[in-house]
């Protein structure tokens, strides 16, 4: 095979004021014709900068110190504006992370494709371009291309928008497509469809790709080779199978060890990377040495370039010979004690229905608005100290349930009781003690911490409100709370923007814990964090759970995390609970058809399971007004029955309950056992 792209010793800095911050440090790699290279690393490691460099694009503040980016032997960095204009969009396509901002909102999507086709001289006339655009839409699996051409971006779903972006990227039949986190903003099931599409396109068109992502699991499905980046350095490059089987660089090993796995038996401990990437304090030598368990004195002094380990496998570590292969193993964490059955549940939700658009107060009574029911007749129980995970795709009503429990969003019907006492529906009507008992942790610590308040103030407020300690002892109590989440006491004098994302989420957890709750509502608290930071927080939650008797409603769309953390799981779709039961039963047949599709959508590390063609068709809209919410999207739908009759709850012996018309034995049969016995990656 011949090389399509050669990046040689690319060193790039960002200018800030009068000084330079180095973002890329001697990055060298190549992409062969028809090959997919995956580039993985934590946020800020420079992977997107590399992706943009392949388009010959640099930010205004970027200074290229040295290096070459050769495309067909032509250096993109010295090509100049006109030459780049000819290449970009024509020979090199780009798929951005966020299709919503990438598409022009005031232009029909068809026209946006035609524009590219005409600009690059593929078509002379609008009519021809329109026909070609329809073909492209068909190619990327958009239903009814003729109609979609005439739509505006906001009339399409996120997945459809991303398909349009992909169509735009392949419009001129490019040699290379650069994909910058193309599925990060999408749902698990949508993500799986997009990946399947990319694999399919690649097989059909033979296009080379650079796939930039923070999700190793995804790369296993699509990449031929994977490059691992750390702080602007490429630390390891290997064929993807080799990389997962025998990572050589300690950072790669840590990254793989950080992934929660769906096949883990209950409660294996993760092996998170220790420490943080501190860009101000990078040593002159190996950038990873401050966090490396195997670092010796020389590591921080001498820079190490990539060295070949085997054919196609290169690593930038001075000690790779001594360290050898270290397949990522894990230590077993203590198994959790089972809760005695039959004990009174802590939280009891019965027949909960929640709607948006409910007119409140006097005006609402006279001018009723159209209601949008988002959660329908939901009942569940959470035991004392138990972790209940609620999973489902976005829009399934997971967060809405948590908001209702907290009292932020009064439901239209149903009761919520805590410890046997029925809670008032609105938070205002609850007693201080009831408010203390339930604490909410949000997804994004950037938004949930007041940026203008010091950590001490943030933690001090709930302490004062709920009378946790005497006035003079506030300082000590805050230090203790920080220690609980493994932060130093001196952090109370810092502002949130002086902390890293993981540290901020710890502060948010500390704020919830300092009130002394019995129930934590954790709303996607890991999804805004990097993989290695995620692993740290998971370990923290586990320790906290065993230290104190606090129950959790853990809302997540990430099944691997759920597997490692939850005691019981509920699967929510369209505001209706479809399946619930102990975690080990959920991940074992029989499955509800929806649960199965969720499990199949989780990216798997094992390359044997790489997708060959398009995946199971999950597309299709659920039928409106049907009695089973999943009807219309279900692969095993029993005709009219699913539309006309509400499905019954069926119970298996081990506490598993499935709401489906298909008999349990039948469900056991359809479940493909291979689907869940593999290693999985983290869903972003």
């Amino acid at each position: 095979m011949t090389m399509l792209v050669e990046v040689h010793d690319l060193t790039l800095s960002y200018r800030s004021g009068s000084s330079l911050a180095r973002v890329l440090h001697g990055v060298t790699f190549h992409i062969d014709r028809g090959e997919v290279l995956g580039l993985v690393g934590e946020s800020g490691c420079g992977k997107s900068t590399v992706g943009l460099a392949l388009l010959g694009y640099c930010f205004n503040s970027a200074v290229i110190e040295r290096g070459r980016v050769l495309f067909h032997g032509q250096d993109l960095l010295t090509l100049g504006r006109a030459g780049l204009d000819r290449l970009r969009g024509d020979r090199i396509g780009f798929v951005p992370q966020n299709p919503t901002t990438a598409l022009n909102p005031s232009m029909r999507v068809g026209l946006q494709i035609c524009e590219a086709l005409i600009l690059h001289g593929r078509n002379r006339h609008m009519a021809d371009a329109g026909r070609r655009a329809a073909e492209l839409f068909d190619l990327v699996g958009l239903p009814r291309p003729g109609e979609i051409l005439k739509r505006y971006p906001h009339e399409l779903s996120g997945g459809q928008q991303q398909r349009v972006c992909i169509a735009l990227a392949i419009a001129c039949d490019p040699d290379l497509i650069v994909l910058d986190e193309p599925t990060t903003g999408l749902d698990v099931t949508t993500q799986e469809q997009i990946i399947a599409l990319l694999v399919d396109l690649r097989a059909r068109l033979g296009t080379s790709m650079l796939y930039v992502t923070h999700d190793l699991g995804l790369l296993a499905q699509i990449a031929d080779r994977i490059g691992v980046m750390y702080a602007g350095n490429l630390v390891e490059v290997a064929p993807s199978r080799t990389l997962f089987a025998g990572p050589r660089h300690p950072y790669t090993q840590g990254l793989i060890g950080s992934l929660p796995r769906i096949d883990d038996p209950e409660g294996t401990a993760l092996r998170p990377l220790r420490g943080l990437l501190l860009r101000q304090e990078l040593p002159p030598g190996c950038p990873f040495s401050p966090r490396c368990d195997h670092a010796v004195a020389g590591c921080a002094q001498h820079r190490q370039g990539l060295e070949p380990v085997a054919t196609g496998h290169e690593v930038a570590c001075q000690r790779w010979r001594e360290l050898g292969k270290q397949p990522p193993g894990r230590s077993a964490a203590g198994k959790r004690a089972k809760r005695p059955a039959g004990a009174a549940p802590l939280l009891c939700i019965d027949g909960l229905s929640i709607a948006y658009g409910v007119g409140r107060g006097l005006l609402g009574r006279f001018f009723p608005r159209r209601q949008l029911v988002v959660v329908n007749d939901l009942s569940l129980e959470i035991g004392r100290g138990e972790t209940f995970a609620l999973v489902g795709e976005s829009g399934s009503g997971k967060s809405t349930v948590a908001r209702a429990i907290s009292g932020l969003l009064p439901p239209i019907s149903g009761t919520i009781s805590l410890d046997g006492a029925t809670l008032a529906l609105s938070v205002k009507a609850r007693s201080s003690d009831q408010r203390r008992a339930i604490q909410y942790i949000f997804q994004n610590p950037d938004a949930s911490l007041n940026p203008r308040a010091k950590v001490g103030t943030i933690l001090g407020r709930p302490l004062r409100m709920f009378g946790g300690s005497a006035r003079g002892k506030t300082g000590e109590a805050i230090a203790a709370a920080l220690a609980d989440v493994r932060l130093e006491g001196t952090y109370q004098h810092r502002y949130p923007d002086e902390l890293s994302g993981g540290e901020r989420q710890r502060v948010a957890i500390a704020r919830a814990l300092i009130a002394g709750p019995v129930l934590l509502l954790c709303d996607e608290i890991l999804s805004a964090l990097d993989v290695s930071v995620q692993a740290n927080i998971i370990e923290l939650l586990r320790k906290l759970r065993s230290e104190r008797d606090v129950a959790m409603l853990f809302i997540s769309h990430d099944l691997s995390v759920v597997r490692t953390l939850a005691d019981r799981v509920g699967v929510l779709f369209g505001g209706v609970l479809l399946e619930s039961g102990p975690v080990e039963e959920i991940f074992r047949p029989p499955y509800h058809p929806y649960t199965l599709s969720l499990l199949e959508a989780v990216p798997h590390i094992e390359t044997e399971r790489r997708r060959k063609g398009p995946g199971p068709a999950v597309a299709g809209e659920s039928t409106a007004g049907a009695r089973c919410v999943y009807a219309g999207r279900c692969r095993w739908q029993l005709g009219e029955k699913c539309v006309k009759e509400p499905p019954p709850w069926q119970r298996s012996g081990k506490g598993l309950a499935i709401r489906c018309h298909i008999p349990i034995d039948e469900l056991k049969r359809i479940a493909a056992p291979a689907a869940v016995t593999v290693i999985t990656g983290v869903v972003p």
């Binding site: 960002y14 800030s16 004021g17 009068s18 000084s19 330079l20 911050a21 973002v23 800020g44 860009r279 101000q280 409140r360 107060g361 006097l362 005006l363 907290s406 009292g407 932020l408 938070v427 205002k428 609850r430 201080s432 408010r435 604490q439 909410y440 949000f442 994004n444 950037d446 938004a447 949930s448 911490l449 007041n450 940026p451 203008r452 308040a453 407020r461 709930p462 409100m465 709920f466 949130p496 923007d497 704020r511 009130a515």
Partner: protein, 294 residues
């Protein structure tokens, strides 16, 4: 971008100054000159502000009378210099008063929302829809003749004119901040709305409010000057600039310096304040945006 912060570690006053917008630097320079003149003027001016017979009445600009001499034989330059602190103090205190009242009402209204917010906003819109000079005159008339000419009344009028406009800005900011999760957390904790406004909203709205203050303060001298010009401001012989322009306007052709002098003072103050404000808004706009995230 922690990445960039790390490099921009070169602390030091001068390098910081060099990175500020040019408009901020020029504006600050003009303001400093104004403040220094206003603070020291009363001590070194050659004549008293109401001293008559300082020269030949209606004489044009000369070395001994840079801004000429008015009808009553008063030195206009001395009067302008003396009036500086009056204009500055009244502008700033009036705007500050308007800012305090406006921001509290606005933040509270934006946070509480619902019908109350709606009513408050409609009421503010009614106030804003009245041309501000008309409203100022209404307030003056309502205050009655015995208060007319009182500097405090002028300050209150400035505050009264500005408060509804500032309240609207504050409300917009509050509506945005109120959707953030930390406010939700505070609400879940059972905080009172006053406490949320003070602890959560106000600190995060300071950027917007500061810009708003500077912007309004920039036009306050014009407002006070207009009131003075129309005879609704301070009483003669107070050397308020607007009033002086009004008194000397008949001399525009005979001794133009007597009008242009106070006019120049007023214009340079407004220009200085506005340049400064614009620069400040740009700096704050940056830091306010970056406040929450890295």
């Amino acid at each position: 971008m922690a990445l960039l912060d790390g490099v921009a570690n070169k602390k030091g006053f001068w390098s910081w100054i060099a990175r500020t917008p040019l408009s901020l630097r020029i504006g600050a320079l003009i303001l400093i000159v104004h403040v220094v003149l206003a603070a020291t003027g009363p001590f070194w001016i050659p004549y008293g502000f109401s001293q008559m017979g300082t020269g030949l009445p209606l004489s044009p600009a000369s070395l001994s009378h840079p801004f000429g001499v008015d009808q009553l034989g008063r030195d206009v330059f001395s009067r302008v210099m003396y009036g500086g602190h009056i204009v500055l103090l009244m502008s700033l205190s009036g705007t500050a008063l308007g800012l305090i009242a406006g921001s509290l009402v606005g933040l509270w209204s934006g946070y509480v929302g619902g019908i109350i917010d709606n009513l408050v906003q409609r009421f503010l819109e009614v106030l804003i829809s009245i041309p501000f000079l008309v409203m100022a005159l209404l307030a003056m008339v309502a205050a009655g003749p015995e208060l007319s000419g009182d500097p405090l009344l002028v300050v209150f009028v400035v505050a009264f004119v500005y408060a509804p406009r500032i309240a609207r800005m504050a409300r917009t900011a509050a509506v945005e901040i109120a959707t953030r999760d930390f406010v939700t957390i505070a609400r879940l904790r059972g905080e009172t709305s006053w406490s949320v406004v003070r602890r959560e909203l106000l600190p995060n709205a300071t950027g917007v409010l500061l810009v708003e203050f500077a912007l309004r303060a920039g036009y306050a001298p014009v407002l006070i000057g207009s009131l003075g010009f129309l005879g609704f401001g301070l009483r003669p012989p107070t050397p308020e600039w607007g009033l002086m322009i009004s008194e000397n306007r008949s001399l525009l052709l005979i001794a133009p310096a007597t009008v242009l002098g106070p006019g120049l003072a007023l214009a340079s103050l407004v220009v200085g304040l506005n340049l400064f404000t614009e620069g400040l808004a740009r700096i704050l706009g940056r830091t306010v945006k970056l406040g929450g995230q890295q």
